[in-house]
Amino acid sequence: MFEAVAFYLFAFLTIAMFYIVVTTKQALYALTALAAGMIFISAFFFILGADFLGAIQIIVYTGAVMALYAFGMMFFDTTRDVKEKQGNKFIIVGLSTLAAILVVVIFAAPMVSENVVALYPIVEGVGNTQEVGVVLFTKYLIPFELAAVMLLVAMIAGIVLAGKKMDLSLTLMNSEEIEEAKKQKNKKVLS
């Protein structure tokens, strides 16, 4: 019963929050609602016994991602009302409603799933984090390491793109201009 109540409560909340995210005109509201929605989602994770995931959700999303977005928002100065010209709303609403209905129709039907065998079964009495750790560092070691590479890539990308070196474009300058710029700056910016 508790589970049901919690499910419906949080389901309502997440849907509401995310609805606000996609509809509000206030970017700040959107950001806040998104953060709230993320937290509510972590609630599901806890309900479902995925404690580690829930924690990660809060830390990564609400902590890191949202902070990044917040910084971004300040940078882009989108705290004011967001003006968005809308084209044909019918397409948007129609398409998404259709998509939702279709998938819901399918999922409303029972799933057979007979031969499902848990490859990495959840063991009773062992903490979720521990289990996750074991699987992550055996089976999913490679993706884990690759994820590290990916984060490195993202980091480099972020640095490169947001860095000062991008302010001057060598692509658009002809060789004389480049020489000129080199003299002025005399930095490794223009290696």
Binding site: G87, I92, L95, S96, L98, A99, L102, I106
Partner: protein, 640 residues
């Protein structure tokens, strides 16, 4: 003897090539002389061959080399000199020699003198091939060759629009007939397996009548074109645009008789299909009358003679169609002599009159052109068939044949035509040579032709007079090849009545013509009652047949061609191709807006694509899940 055969055959070719070397240079008289000599050589060789044939009668048959050989088809260049072909060879070479010599004078002032001889000799060569070939394909070579040379010679004065038009008309009309000929040849080949005369004739005997009939008809269609039989006759009158020697040689003596020759040559075929023969005879008789009627009123000297030729060809076909091949051939020969003479005489007149052709503008020329006057008069007498000139013997034989074969309609048509022939021939003579000197009105100073031209014509004159005497010898000779059909009217009385009656009829026509035209005074201007009458107009306009051809065949052809090009080819066929390309391109052009460059649109496309897939998935999934029910419903509805 083969040597002579080759000489007769190739001397004209040598002559032609020799003359052709000088086509682009100035006039050189020696070209004409050498050409004439070479043609004379051919004539001499032909004479030797004739003598040979007359002596022992063994035909000479040679096979020079293979022409085409593929599959079962084998066509050699084979030549045969037998009684029929040697007769033709004699006619051809003789008339050619004379015409060549004559032309040296006639073409004296023409800057394309050399070219003329090249063409003329080439024509002789083609004609020799035509008559000497021992198979249908070889005959076809000559057949087309003479057509080509005829084209070149009719259009000899190619700066004249009318001449080139006439040349093309002649060529194309002949081509129509040649198609028939070609089909005939195909039929012969596929039914007999060979195109050699002897082999094919042998095989004809085993074929059924239907096939033979078709063969006969198609070959005759070929003959119709070359011999200008109705309805392919219009080109012959127009062909008079060519130089007069050409008319004499090609359009009177030789080429136009090729059709007759073909029928005679294929006598073994036509003997097997008398009904086709009858058709040929009927058509011949019709053409004889038809052409003669047009000659009655025409005001163009050469055209009158051309219609007369046409008419005489009709006689020949009538004879050949009735199985009297030797008679046809005999008339062919005799006709060649006097008609060539007539034409050459007309050439003299033309020269004298500075190319004036309307006899009404002449008159009284006998004073200045005595020689020509005599020759033309005698030729006309021969043409009219008055005893004892050549025409009498040949034409009379045709009438007899028609009578004996009980084709009285043909007989009476031919008889009537004989009268017409006499009338128009002497109408011409009378208008040209008698009466007042109307040409003075036009400031023309006529003069007689060169002497040597008249001398050159003289053999023809002699032959026109005496050819009848050769009938017996000739008959003896050709019956070894042609069917032996002697036409004897059983009752002597009937024979004499007929002969004398005919003669009287003809002479009456001559007298009438003289009476009417001998002292003609003025040049008609189209206002007289006669000229206003319907019949006159009908005849003068050649029964409106050229008009009809122009109006209902040539023009529509041109217009349809134009439509085919501008409408069908450009607007339908090509436009379809371009249209398909255009549709592809246009679709690209129209739908490229899908790439609006706006990210939002792009995302919508992605979602839309997914949703579309999803809908299909759901439809399919539901259908799969409920397939039993669906089948049940469908079967209940009677769909499945």
């Amino acid at each position: 003897m083969e040597k002579f055969l080759y000489i007769a055959l190739f001397a004209p070719l040598v002559s032609s090539l020799f003359a052709a070397l000088f086509t682009t240079t100035k006039k050189k008289t020696f070209v004409g002389i050498i050409a004439s000599l070479l043609i004379f050589t051919a004539f001499a060789s032909s004479s030797v061959l004739l003598a040979h044939i007359l002596n022992n009668g063994a035909p000479i048959h040679v096979e020079m080399m293979t022409w085409m050989a593929t599959g079962d088809l084998y066509i050699p260049f084979g030549f045969v000199v037998d009684q029929v072909s040697v007769t033709m060879m004699m006619v051809v070479t003789l008339v050619s020699t004379i015409v060549h010599i004559y032309s040296i004078g006639y073409m004296d002032h023409d800057k394309s003198f050399n070219r003329f001889f090249a063409w003329l000799s080439a024509f002789v060569f083609s004609m020799m091939i035509l008559v000497m070939s021992d198979n249908y394909a070889g005959l076809f070579i000559g057949w087309e060759g003479v057509g080509l040379c005829s084209w070149g010679l009719i259009g000899f004065w190619f700066h004249k629009e009318s001449a080139t038009w006439a040349a093309n008309e002649a060529f194309i009309m002949n081509r129509i007939a040649d198609l028939g000929m070609l089909i005939g040849i195909f039929l012969v080949y596929w039914n007999t397996g060979t195109l050699q005369y002897d082999g094919a004739f042998e095989a004809f005997k085993t074929l059924d009548t239907a096939t033979l009939t078709w063969i006969g008809i198609f070959l005759f269609i070929g003959a119709m074109g070359k011999s200008a039989q109705f309805p392919l006759h219009t080109w012959l009158a127009d062909a008079m645009e060519g130089p007069t020697p050409v008319s004499a040689l090609i359009h009177a003596a030789t080429m136009v008789t090729a059709g007759v020759y073909l029928v005679i040559r294929s006598n073994e075929l036509y003997d097997l299909i008398p009904h086709v023969g009858l058709f040929i005879a009927s058509l011949g008789a019709f053409v004889a009358l038809f052409a003669a009627s047009m000659a009655l009123v025409n005001r163009d000297m050469k055209r009158i003679i051309a219609y007369s030729t046409l008419s005489q060809l009709g006689y020949m076909f009538a004879a050949a169609g009735l199985g009297a091949y030797w008679v046809a051939l005999f008339h062919l020969m005799a006709h060649a002599f006097f008609k060539a003479l007539l034409f050459l005489g007309a050439g003299n007149v033309m020269h004298a009159m500075h190319d004036e052709l309307d006899p009404f503008k002449m008159g009284g020329l006998k004073k200045v052109m005595k020689g020509t006057f005599i020759m033309m008069t005698l030729a006309s007498v021969a043409l009219a068939g008055i005893f004892p000139l050549a025409g009498f013997f040949s034409k009379d034989a045709i009438l007899e044949a028609a009578f004996v074969e009980h084709h009285y309609i043909i007989y009476s048509v031919l008889l009537f035509t004989a009268g017409l022939t006499a009338f128009y021939s002497f109408r011409l003579v009378a208008l040209i040579f008698h009466g007042e000197e109307r040409y003075k009105l036009f400031g023309i100073h006529p003069h007689e032709a060169y002497k040597f031209m008249l001398v050159a014509m003289s053999p023809l004159l002699i032959l026109a007079i005496i050819a009848g005497a050769m009938k017996g010898t000739y008959y003896e000779m050709v019956i070894s090849v042609l069917p032996e059909t002697e036409y004897h009217i059983h009752s002597h009385l009937v024979y004499w009545v007929m002969t004398i009656g005919t003669q009287l009829f003809v002479i009456g026509a001559v007298v009438y013509a003289y009476k009417k035209y001998a002292d003609w005074k003025s040049v008609p201007d189209g206002s007289s009652d006669v000229e206003q009458s319907f019949m006159y107009k009908l005849l003068y306009n050649q029964y409106y047949i050229p008009y009809a051809y122009e109006e209902y065949i040539v023009k529509p052809y041109r217009e349809i061609s134009e439509i085919f090009w501008t409408k069908v080819d450009m607007k339908v066929v090509d436009a379809t191709v371009d249209g398909i390309a255009g549709i592809i391109y246009g679709t690209g052009e129209k739908t490229r807006d899908m790439q609006s460059g706006n990210l939002s649109t792009m995302l919508k496309w992605m979602v839309a694509g997914t949703v579309a897939l999803l809908s299909l998935a759901v439809v399919f999934g539901l259908a799969a899940r409920n397939s039993d029910e669906i089948v049940a419903i469908l079967s209940a509805l009677g769909v499945m």
